[in-house]
């Protein structure tokens, strides 16, 4: 009686069953004698399916991530929302690469701060305050060195640095360093570039780490953007500002005849989204709009409606855009 197992397997696999098969299923699941057998078979399939579902989840990788953060969190950051006086420095840096750990070495303990779930604010040993964007990591020594306050960043962060002209504050990203000479500024690191926009005061953008002592460095003044390109080994200066640099904190986004490609990049970065764009979508079409404190759904919808595109929400933080 191999047949009955075939019908059961088919039924549990959610394949369509014909009338006589359905009749058989109804029969066995109702008759007291065969009920046990039926339930056992159903449980077998159910447990196998559960086994496969569980197997798909990478518990080991998750544990590695969590245990790393456990160590981080043992370091007590307090004073979550301290506002250091106006003598602050604003810095945003985004880096995608794995941390290079060359400079911070020696006996002093290295601390790190991670922010995997939300924007989190921490106070650094010198009283500077840093907001880490989702996914950002910051490493530094518990006690900064005498000559320099060095932090290493991956991801995106916003610094309000306590002023200390004796000890410059240096943020190192994968391929460049940003030395603060008393100012507020913005750093954004792309795959091969590091972009610095200066808001007030003066900032130095340097290739590599400070230890590299590269001659390739540039002083930037307010309104200027310095872009270091890792591939060309070149720093260029521009007079423009990306108005949305701080949008991940302010949630205020402005598009001014901005092309769709940039719009998507901006929204992705600000809200940590995944956006999938169908190839036929024209990325050059432009949008002019201002959003104040809106959520990602709203912005994506407005963009889609404005450009007559089809928007699908494919997950809590992922979208797909297609031509209508």
């Amino acid at each position: 009686m191999g047949e009955k197992w075939n019908i059961l397997a088919k039924y549990f696999s959610k394949e369509s069953v014909n009338d006589s098969e359905k009749e058989y299923i109804d029969g066995v699941s109702a008759t007291e004698d065969s009920k046990l057998e039926y339930k056992a078979a159903a449980k077998t399939m159910e447990k196998v399916d559960l086994y496969y579902d569980l197997k798909k989840i990478d518990t080991k990788a998750a544990w590695n991530k969590v245990s790393r953060q456990m160590e981080t969190k043992t370091m007590k950051f307090r004073n979550k929302l301290i506002r250091v006086a106006a003598v602050g420095i604003i810095l945003i840096a985004t880096a995608f690469a794995v941390w290079r750990f060359s400079l911070i070495s020696g006996k002093s303990t290295v601390y790190s701060a991670d922010s995997n779930f939300e924007t989190t604010q921490y106070e650094l040993p010198d009283g500077s305050v840093v907001s880490l964007n989702k996914g950002a990591k910051l490493r530094f020594k518990k006690h900064f060195d005498d000559q320099i306050r060095l932090v290493k960043l991956t991801g995106e962060a916003f610094f309000t640095v306590a002023r200390n002209v004796e000890r410059p504050f240096v943020v190192e990203t994968r391929n460049a360093s940003v030395k603060v000479l008393g100012t507020s500024f913005n750093v954004y690191q792309g795959e091969n570039t590091t972009e610095v926009f200066v808001k007030t005061g003066k900032v130095q953008l340097i290739q590599g780490t400070l230890a590299d002592n590269s001659k390739n460095r540039i002083d930037l003044i307010p309104g200027q953007t310095g872009i270091f390109n890792n591939k060309q080994n070149k720093i260029v200066k521009r007079q423009a500002e990306n108005e949305n640099s701080l949008a991940w904190i302010t949630r205020d986004i402005t598009f001014n005849f901005t092309d769709l490609a940039t719009v998507i990049e901006t929204v992705k970065r600000v809200y940590n989204l995944k956006v999938d764009v169908e190839q036929s979508v024209d990325l050059k079409q432009q949008i002019t709009a201002t959003f104040n404190q809106q959520n990602a759904d709203y912005i994506m919808e407005v963009v889609a409606i404005t450009l007559d595109l089809d928007l699908t929400k494919t997950g809590a933080t992922s979208y797909r855009i297609e031509t209508n």
């Binding site: 075939n6 696999s13 056992a40």
Partner: protein
């Protein structure tokens, strides 16, 4: 005092090894459980990870009145609902989740003893190669019978027969476990 409770009191003493064990036992089941409320598996995993971090930080403040397991599932469910509320978008969905407990699967549906995991793995491995291949395509890869037939260049009838036989084999191999499960079901049904 069961194992979980002993484990948890060690965790409260700051034993990271015990915490790791608890994590590894419940992480995947909790992720599957979360999927009932949040479809995005990545988001779900983040919620579970965030929960474990918080659990570690607050380990001394936590008093578990029920069992460790029901505490874990309860806390995770709350996190999910908060997350959905926070998203604001799916208000509808929140009230659905809150109101339709009927469709909600019990936590035990998402948990499996390590022993049983191993036993299932070994049982599937011991199927004849062709049967195993077909079975894995169906259950692990989620292919329909028709797709399996096309992929392997065989008839749907053959797939049906092999699947039936595989189910029969596995049922046989897992019998010891199943007996436990079945008697449990009977008790449960009578209790109703």
């Amino acid at each position: 005092m069961n194992n979980d409770q002993q484990l948890f009191s060690k965790i409260q003493d700051g034993d990271k090894k015990s915490f790791e064990l608890l994590f590894k036992t419940y992480y995947a089941p909790l992720c599957l459980f979360v999927r009932q409320y949040i479809s995005d598996l990545d988001e779900g995993e983040e919620i579970v990870q965030g929960f474990f971090l918080k659990l570690w930080e607050d380990r001394n403040k936590i008093i578990i009145a029920t069992t460790v397991r029901s505490y874990l599932y309860g806390a995770i469910k709350n996190r999910c609902l908060n997350y959905i509320k926070h998203q604001k978008i799916k208000q509808q969905h929140v009230s659905e989740v809150l109101n339709t407990n009927a469709s909600e699967k019990h936590a035990s549906n998402f948990f499996m003893e390590v022993d049983l995991m191993k036993k299932i793995e070994a049982s599937i491995d011991s199927l004849p190669p062709r049967r195993k291949e077909i079975f894995v395509l169906s259950r692990e890869q989620g292919l329909k019978y028709r797709e399996i037939a096309e992929k392997l260049g065989i008839s749907i009838k053959t797939v049906e027969a092999q699947m039936g036989q595989a189910l029969k084999d596995l049922r046989e191999k897992l019998k010891d476990y199943k007996q436990l499960l079945v008697s449990f079901i009977i008790l449960f049904n009578k209790g109703k």
